[in-house]
Symmetry: C2
Subunit: 834 residues, 2 copies
């Protein structure tokens, strides 16, 4: 046995020797001093190496966050399975709602679209968080899809209080859409708890007061639109689709062509659609948005009776034909120019292809946490604590993951931080690209926050949390869809060298991430926390672009494949950050370096060309729409003037773009009208109101001229000086796809970021608190001191292979039926946007 163990050890020792000598043997063509010190260091190294070897045989720590109990209940996280089931059951018992279960419902039935926690009002939460106030009463936010009518509408309802308490008589409490229910909810911030659960139209968070009703322009999209209209149109021109593309779109199994169009539909003069044709991919790859076919048709789909809908024209090769007859006549005329189809091929597939670069098949560098996770998670309360940061997570249908009550060193700095909306505004010479302005919260980010791929989307040893959303009387759990992990940045956070010493501090930061794939695009949403007290909000985009057919549209994109144009579009993503700097009384102030020509007491009466700081305050909401401005000069910060520090400076946090950001290029968009007034500037400041919790309604695209939430209406002149203020900022990019976006856009170039950094918030840099630094004192080749500040040692052996994730364990979403509630029979089902 001795021989058997000694031999490998010797072998390892030799290897190790080679390693530590390697840099000398290989790296130094020049002779090196052979001072006594040098030799001593060399000897020490040998001894050290041997000691290390002997001491380091233990395996490294298991990953996984440390357990902790959240200081408070997470009042934002969502309904429990039991609550969701109870509310759903209760809703179905309300006869006046006339609901049909989703699986039984047709286009003319009323269904339940959403059962979710209604986020409590900030004014109700703060007393609970910060004092001895009671836990806010829980309510459900319910969305019904009223389609049993010729004027279909969505209905936002508030159901509560929870848990469900049946009242006297029939089906429990009930409300109406008149806007004056039994409770004083008109302004939202005076909810009263009641013993009996009732429903009320939800109106207080919306700028438009229409009893929580929003018209539904898509009531027939799933069935009638296709069966009674689009497939009929397809059949009408079957000769042409067969001739041009060798395929059809008849709603049959062997269809090779898909048909769909603009979003939102035109709403200014009836309800108008423009649709176009797309080749279905012939493989499993999701490449359809790369396969447009270049023929467009216009439909007036006003009302719910398809027999009254009309086909109002065709467009092909930039030529408009007012009728199908006119188009067909032209098509069969001798000089009609037939354009080629876009056809799938390897160019559209994401699998490895092409020559493998040298050494690429060697397993690459990887980040690991050899001693285990250094953060705390309360999985029940979705509470996370890393170093001096702590926060709660929530998850909702419209916008996915959100962050709440972000505290730093025990003090809340942010009450709420999260995505509000993502707009992708296209343009083109064809009506489908021109008419496309996706407001993605319509689809919802929650339903598409897919299971993450371990070791790819986040490190294998990250902590993964589930998230849930409601749909069709079920809750779907996205398994492992939120990840938490620390990374060492590839640069230190601090360093300084002199001829006597060098001091460097590692930059270890913490990331909270979820990825949402809304149709063709994958958005990676990351929130990064740093040891200097700063927070980085980042979004990156990958996935498939939506492209245009290439035909006389050089002014709208590059020609990137056979008959393909990289359709230009702006991504604009709005975020809310509700700062609470040492309380809710905050002010946004600015500091701007400006060029000046100035005479000084010491300048001999001569003016000097130099610069100085201009300071200003955003006094009220009339001044609350802001641009980053020329040369990135203006610094925006949120301070609390009630707590000047000992030097008289006001503590705060600065906000700034850290990677490129944009606002929307299009002015007064014909597609969006008033539905995206949050996209017009780089950032906005408003007074916090319980009645303005969200910048948009997810159904703003259903009524763009009169949206349920018009962000512009938030700006009504309120004072912003030492008030509870909210900053809304936009990330995004002008995306003019080029060949490098094929097959997928890459995260490396499609990114946008925003930094939230302390500014005079503490009296010094808090990264000095970490022990993960080293100071080396040296002189004339001698090191006199190495101070590692008592930091931890890795002293272990990490088995990479064992740490590899098991990709065969990928499951997708787990579904639990809520009505009837059937918690013990989960099944798997994952849906993407189709």
């Amino acid at each position: 046995m001795k021989r058997a163990t000694v031999l490998p050890v010797l072998w390892l020792f030799s290897l190790c020797l080679l390693l530590s000598l390697g840099s000398f043997v290989l790296a130094r063509p020049s002779p090196r001093p052979k001072s006594a010190n040098f030799r001593k260091a060399y000897h020490d190294r040998l001894v050290n190496d041997r000691m290390k070897r002997q001491a380091s045989s233990a395996p490294c720590a298991a990953p996984g966050a440390q357990a902790i109990s959240a200081p408070k209940k997470n009042v934002w996280y969502g309904l429990t399975d039991e609550e969701a089931a109870a509310v759903t059951k209760w809703l179905f018992s309300q006869e006046d709602l006339n609901l049909t279960a989703a699986e039984d419902a047709g286009s003319w039935d009323n269904t339940v679209l959403l059962v979710e926690l209604m986020l409590p009002n900030k004014t109700d939460v703060l007393p609970y968080l910060d004092g001895n106030g009671p836990e806010p009463t829980r309510y459900a936010h319910v969305v019904l899809d009223h389609r049993a009518t010729t004027e279909p509408y969505y209905a936002d309802l508030l159901v509560g209080p929870l848990p469900i308490q049946e009242g006297q008589g029939g089906g429990g409490g009930h409300g109406d859409y008149g806007g004056h229910g039994g409770h004083n909810w008109t302004h939202g911030y005076k909810r009263q708890s009641s013993a009996v659960t009732t429903w009320e139209p939800l109106t207080y968070p919306y700028t438009r007061k229409t009893a929580g009703r929003i018209r539904n322009l898509g009531a027939d999209d799933d069935v009638a639109l296709y069966d009674d209209w689009l497939y009929v149109v397809c059949a009408d021109i079957l000769d042409i689709t067969l001739d041009l593309w060798g395929g059809s779109c008849l709603g049959l199994e062997n269809d090779t062509i898909d048909v769909w169009g603009i979003d939102p539909v035109w709403q200014d003069d009836g309800i108008i659609r423009w649709d176009t044709f797309w080749n279905y991919p012939t493989t499993d790859f999701d490449a359809e948005t790369l396969l447009p076919l270049g023929l467009y048709f216009k439909s007036n789909v006003t009302g719910r009776d398809p027999s009254k809908w009309s086909l109002d024209g065709w467009l092909y090769n930039d030529i408009f034909y007012p009728t199908t007859e006119a188009f067909r006549a032209a098509y069969y005329s001798p000089d009609f120019e037939k354009l080629p189809a876009n056809v799938e091929g390897a160019w559209a597939d994401t699998d490895q292809q092409g020559e493998i670069p040298p050494l690429d098949t060697v397993f690459p560098p990887i980040t690991v946490a050899p001693r285990g996770s250094r953060y705390f998670v309360d999985r029940d309360q979705k509470y996370v604590k890393w170093m001096d940061f702590e926060m709660y997570l929530s998850f909702n249908r419209d916008t996915g993951m959100q962050l709440h009550d972000i505290r730093y060193k025990g003090n809340r700095i942010i009450y709420e931080l999260g995505l509000q909306e993502a707009l992708a505004h296209y343009a083109g010479n064809d009506p489908v690209q021109s008419g496309t302005s996706y407001l993605d919260s319509w689809y919802g980010f929650g339903p598409y926050a897919f299971e993450l791929v371990k070791a790819y989307d986040c490190p294998a040893d990250a902590t993964y949390l589930d998230s849930k959303f409601y749909t069709a009387e079920t809750t779907h759990t996205h398994v492992d869809s939120i990840c938490l992990f620390e990374t060492e940045a590839n640069y230190p956070i601090q360093r300084h060298s002199t001829s006597k010493y060098v001091a460097v501090t590692k930059n270890i930061f913490f990331t909270v991430r979820s990825v949402c794939t809304v149709g063709n695009y994958d958005y990676a949403f990351s929130y990064e926390f740093y040891m200097d007290g700063s927070i980085h909000v980042e979004v990156r985009a990958s996935g498939y672009i939506q492209s245009a057919y290439f035909a006389k549209n050089e002014e709208y994109g590059y020609h990137i494949h056979d008959a393909l144009s990289g359709s230009m579009h702006d991504h604009v993503l709005n975020y809310k950050v509700d700062f609470d700097i040492l309380g809710t009384a905050n002010t946004m102030t600015t500091v701007t370096p400006v060029a000046v020509s100035q005479v000084y007491p010491w300048s001999d009466g001569k003016a000097r060309n130099t610069m100085k700081l201009e300071r200003a305050t955003i006094e009220n909401e009339d001044q609350g729409k802001l641009y980053w401005g020329a040369n990135g000069a203006t610094q925006y910060k949120i301070i609390n003037s009630d707590y000047p520090n000992k030097f008289g400076e006001l503590p705060g946090y600065r906000v700034l773009p850290s990677e490129g950001t944009i606002y929307l290029t299009v002015q007064n968009s014909s597609n969006l009208a008033r539905a995206a007034n949050w996209a017009t500037h780089d950032l906005f400041v408003t007074k916090q109101k319980d009645t303005e919790p969200r910048a948009v309604h997810p159904y703003n695209n259903q009524d763009v001229y009169n949206p349920a939430i018009d962000f512009a209406e938030f700006f009504d002149g309120d004072s912003l000086v030492q008030e509870d203020i909210v900053v809304w900022f936009n990330l995004g990019m002008h995306h003019v796809p080029h060949t490098g976006d094929l097959p997928n856009t890459v995260f490396t170039t499609a990114h946008s970021g925003f930094q939230i950094m302390p500014l005079n918030y503490l009296l010094g840099d808090p990264s000095r608190e970490t022990v993960n630094m080293v100071r080396i004192n040296y002189h004339a080749g001698n090191v006199s001191e190495v101070n590692e500040f008592g930091q931890g040692e890795p002293m272990c052996s990490y088995d990479f292979k064992a740490a590899e994730p098991d990709f065969w364990g990928y499951t997708g979403d787990v579904v639990i039926r809520k009505f009837p509630y059937d918690p013990n029979n989960p099944y798997f089902e994952t849906d993407s946007v189709v």
Copy 2:
């Protein structure tokens, strides 16, 4: 033996089981489906884990780049030790140069400041690189410090050809400063090789034609300025320094106060200095720039005779006193306001302090390359190859590390990429801050590219290269001062999810880095290369700020400590990137999304509010000064219109700011006059000329009204259409230091970056070539395929402790004497800016 090995394996197996089950056991409050598939996956995992365990006992690979031979000799790298020694010896043999060895020289002797390789002309290099042209003839660039005169000057000389060939007669070849030597060098690009080595004034790379001479305003800075002036002034007011600050600055061992001032000195009316007093740190920390004392004095130091210099006034607390007498009289008047000193304390020290955050003493996450380095290095030729990128590195005194002949997939995309200059332009109500505009290449980045700290500045298993600079008849080798390493970004490069599959690709990128500490500031210069063909140029700043004394200067910074103002300043760093996209005939074009209101054939005659692309070409140098512009809308790209791709698009690379960048706030700076005309815009385009290789001369600060290189003169109207064009871009930040900059500025918030990304350069995204991706096909909880594309497996065990660097081996610079040449007696000596 069997028992001894089986037991740990069993134990490891249990641990492993726990790991892989952990996420299920801990992460899932909800029940999971117990389908046959689920059970099968679970079983597979157990088997898998066991197999992994058994296979993974071998230790991981040794770090260190793979060896490779550069395809060509690195013609930029620098002189060999032998060449430097030979040139130095030859210079000292030229009697007309009247040189004195540095260690014997006083302020009135002529010395050799620099012996370096003269970078060959691009027109000479291209035939060598791309064809069968000869290796360019080597020349040395020599700078002499002519101080044996009342009108001292620096002399730039060209010495060559190399190797040294003595001519007939006396001391070899010789030249004169008349500008018409024996060779046709007037325009630089017609150098002729000659058998006999001669020296010539170097003029062709400079816009100012003064025979390579630049006046030296600092000829007496080391001795006379202090001994005959500053210490004398100090002695004059010893009563006041003792009374105010309890200290003195007399040039004695027990001095507690330092004295220094503006840079550059004022040059408009004689040579004027403003100096101020600083407390010396009482510890080893380099905190002096945090300890200003707030008293300033003006000196007219015109000429070399200190007896003719004059003291022209004092400033204290924003009050100007024209004479020492006036100042002293005021000082001893009853109502004189004495202000406190800035005194060192823990606030100014970078060592760990404050409460250690929770879990911080656990060893943190770390990036490692378990299977070894995946890139190639030719250490002799400083040639580096990573995946499809390859390049040569050089290193020079003025600007440190530079990159040359960057090729991607075999084609050069960039001929040269590197820093040109770094400006730190301060402002303030006091004359020292107001008068400070450091042009750091004056100090040089090369001499201050200190040894990197392994595992802190770069990963422990990075490849470290040395760099060299010449000073005082020695070459100093910065040991391990350039690092090369791969990192996995903390986000993938590509991903896409659907309900059927998920595909994700790792984002492994390659970094080349050096760190230069020019006095108080540490600049980390990184060049990152990505699998999508993009390059990221980044600079981050740490180290000590230069602060101002806090006295009536609220308009110039925050009050950040007792009597300390965070002195506002702009960092602007200029880089050159000489693109060669498929050859040297290139054009810069732009594409800008603009809002339009437009009628389309299909829009019923109605104008739609939308957007389109505006295209433009930078036709000539008159149009060559550019801003990024509002809303980051304009895309700048360098294309080659001679090689349209199969779709007619022009291949190129786009340039854009990826982290915040700035240009200089100050207009027509009184400090800089014409010395930094490269700082006025975000980017510039010029025609490449052998006579315009650098944007600045490092001694531009010696003659700011008539600098040796005035960048503005590059813009003389040359056509830029399908010419060899050069882009000069600025990184930087408006820095208004706040308390978080104490003790050091942190890299996390002080950063700027620039992205160079392919645009229609290839026909698709080249990151598809990597095997480091996974595609998982799944349905209803079943995984039907896991494709890992034949990627490498880590299959090894990594010993973290053994991989820890030995900080006791830190040496600093190794010095080799060049005159007399003494290569076998190296010694250690590291100098920082003092």
